[in-house]
């Protein structure tokens, strides 16, 4: 039945104006993705402000188009210049650029485009069919489970975005949660940490926070170290690489699924998805020595995964109102601005919205493929614009975008403060994503903790009482302590009989052969 709804929604989108909006947005997204320093998050944040007075359908379509286009667009600079246009394309540099250096730039771009398209398609399937399942499951969640879900989101985001030093990721997440407490709280209306500042009563709006943490940090970072303009390689005609794709179908399916799974994990994002898929592809490859030297498998894995993450990241946005990646966080804020209420109740209030949203995503994916193949050369001239011209213009758009949402100069100040905080955090090795996720999930943590305690008359027991809660607590525990030696030893001890059984079976089978 879901498939029928999806096709119906897709058919409804087939109007000239919708197609025009979608193609323009995707092309704009590709440009954002191509330009180093301008990420999908920045693109969506700016466009949220530009489109917030538009018809919600068109505005959301434009934002989805920007997201899909930007994640793909990053592959162009990764392949041609060895500079990831967005963090999502960092893994693409590893094999895309060596391919380009050996005169196979067009081939690499063709592969990247086709893989991105297929990755997005896997994401589309997940978005259309997993979202209703997850939303229906989430309807069973009470305050206790929602509390643990939010804690798990921040913990795993901190863990994965600061893989070398998870403590810094957790600090960032906790700081985000604490910052979300600023303003009037929802249960008793008490003003927390406002220090008499009226503008702080409503807390920090998410758009200024996101623009500051992602866009301003990039602007400050890029302008602090203005390098000389790069020379762009000449590219021939870009064609889809059907033969290579057919040879790598297992790699594509695996990378797509990894992308979707990483996408569903709160706040983690495309860069991690593409690295994980790249790592899996290398382990599974018959030619692992080629990885990092122009491996087609490596390029396909990273590009399939990063675009599959987009679909995956939107699954928790619609079903749980929890963003799966930083750009998805802006999209979540944009949905609220346009009076769409994502979360478990979406399936009850607007049951068909998920399919309309998925159809928009599908249309953006098709637009990405067409534009990715058709318009390459003219777009590369944009890469010649100097950072010192581009970045200040982007900042003006950020200022305007931040102001436009509520017409408050205070939001611009918030944006600048979060930009400085994000810049300092980046220099000190603290990831920004958990901070933002903490700010988004903080109210959920606070309200559900207190509501749960009111319902249980102060008892913490129900927080540990249901199967879902216990599963989430175990997940939180392993996220936080899974790498510590005592836990690893205990796990080895617990799984020792299973390992012995496995090796016994393997030995027996080996002997029979």
């Amino acid at each position: 039945m879901g498939l029928v709804y999806l096709f119906q929604a897709f058919a409804e989108l087939m109007t000239l104006s919708n197609l025009l909006y979608c193609f323009v947005a995707v092309q704009l997204g590709i440009i954002f993705g191509m330009l180093p320093g301008l990420t999908a998050t920045v693109g969506i944040a700016i466009l949220t402000a530009l489109t917030f007075k538009w018809d919600p359908g068109n505005a959301i379509m434009v934002l989805i188009g920007i997201y899909v286009g930007a994640i793909y667009g990053g592959s162009r600079t990764a392949v041609l210049l060895n500079i990831p246009g967005t963090p999502a394309s960092a893994a693409t540099c590893l094999d895309g650029y060596p391919l380009s250096r050996t005169g196979k730039a067009a081939e690499a771009l063709g592969l990247a485009t086709t893989s991105s398209f297929l990755g997005s398609m896997v994401g589309l399937v997940a978005l259309a069919f997993l979202t209703p399942l997850l939303a229906n499951m989430a309807l069973e969640f009470k305050s206790y489970e929602v509390f643990w879900l939010a804690i798990f989101g921040v913990a795993i985001c901190g863990n994965l975005t600061a893989a070398k030093d998870p403590l810094k990721g957790w600090v960032s997440g906790i700081l985000g949660i604490i910052l979300s407490f600023v303003g009037m709280e929802a249960i008793q209306g008490y003003r927390r940490f406002t220090f008499g500042v009226t503008d702080l009563m409503a807390g920090f709006s998410i758009i200024p926070v996101l623009v500051g943490t992602y866009a301003l940090v990039e602007i400050l970072d890029n302008l602090s170290d203005v390098s000389t303009p790069t020379v762009v390689a000449q590219v021939g005609r870009v064609l889809p690489r059907i033969k290579d794709i057919l040879k790598n179908w297992v790699n594509i399916v695996r990378s797509g699924l990894i992308g979707v799974l990483v996408g569903i994990i709160p706040g983690v994002g495309e860069n991690i998805g593409s690295y994980v898929a790249y790592d899996f592809a290398k382990r599974a490859s018959k030619e692992p020595e080629k990885f990092g030297k122009g491996s087609i498998e490596g390029l396909i894995a990273s590009e399939t995964a990063n675009n599959a993450v987009v679909g995956g990241a939107l699954v928790p946005v619609l079903s749980l109102a929890i963003p799966g990646s930083p750009p998805a966080a802006v999209l979540l804020a944009a949905l609220f601005l346009h009076n769409v209420r994502p979360g478990p109740l979406l399936m009850i209030e607007q049951p068909l919205y998920i399919y309309s949203f998925s159809a928009m995503f599908g249309l953006a994916t098709i637009a990405m493929f067409i534009l990715g193949i058709a318009i390459v050369k003219p777009m590369l001239t944009i890469l010649r614009i100097k950072k010192s011209i581009l970045m200040p213009i982007v900042f003006v758009l950020c200022m305007v975008g931040t102001y436009a949402i509520a017409g408050r100069l205070f939001d611009i100040l918030v944006m600048i403060c979060f930009g400085l905080l994000g810049f300092a955090m980046r220099k000190l090795g603290f990831p920004e994503a958990p901070l933002v996720l903490g700010i988004i999930l903080g109210p959920m943590v606070d309200e559900n903790l207190r509501r749960g305690l009111i319902l249980s008359e102060g008892s913490f027991a129900p927080f540990f009482g249901s199967t879902i809660s216990i599963l989430l607590i175990i997940a939180v525990f392993f996220t936080l302590f899974g790498r510590s030696k005592p836990v690893r030893w205990s796990l080895q001890l617990v799984f020792a009989p299973l390992r012995a059984l496995r090796s016994g079976i393997t030995n027996r089978l080996g002997r029979k052969k």
Partner: protein, 160 residues
């Protein structure tokens, strides 16, 4: 893992002190919040801030101990280092960028949007020697004008 911590031990040491201080301040402010006994002590608005500032305090202490273990406290700031840092190109660029941003914010709403935006863009392009000054001026004025026009007349969002 320990090697990673060694590289950032000194900044981590200073950050941990900041985090410990910050969490103590938040903890203090949270404890001073009203209790609303009629709702039950557990529903007090301070419960979540107390829990999370305690967690931040714990993380700060772990970071502090970890940085001490790799001699993060051995911070020596010499005059030469300071002069080298302050006169470095990235520091100049960062200060100039931030200065222009703050100037833009301060003048926003006091001076017409096109004027202040064109000035901001021109200052940046001029400082970074992006192109000839007259080209920078033209780009700045045209861009600022276009943004103002688009927002006011196409997107129907009035700018300050």
């Amino acid at each position: 893992m320990k090697e990673n911590h060694k590289e950032t031990a000194k900044p981590d040491f200073l950050t941990s002190i900041f985090l410990i201080g910050l969490s103590l301040v938040i903890l203090g402010l949270s404890l001073a919040m009203p209790k609303y006994v009629e709702w039950g002590m557990y529903a007090t608005p301070s419960i979540a801030p107390i829990i999370f500032s305690s967690l931040l305090l714990m993380c700060g202490i772990i970071l502090f101990i970890r940085s001490i273990a790799v001699r993060g406290y051995a911070i020596r700031i010499t005059r030469e280092q300071t002069v080298r840092f302050i006169t470095s190109k990235p520091f100049y660029n960062f200060s100039a960028t931030l200065g222009f941003v703050l100037l833009y914010y301060v003048l926003m709403g006091r001076v017409h949007f096109v004027l202040i935006s064109a000035l901001y863009l021109f200052l940046n392009m001029f400082y970074f020697h992006s192109t000839a000054w007259w080209k920078s001026l033209i780009i700045s004025v045209v861009t600022a004008g276009l943004i103002w026009y688009s927002f006011n007349y196409l997107f129907l969002i009035p700018l300050p």
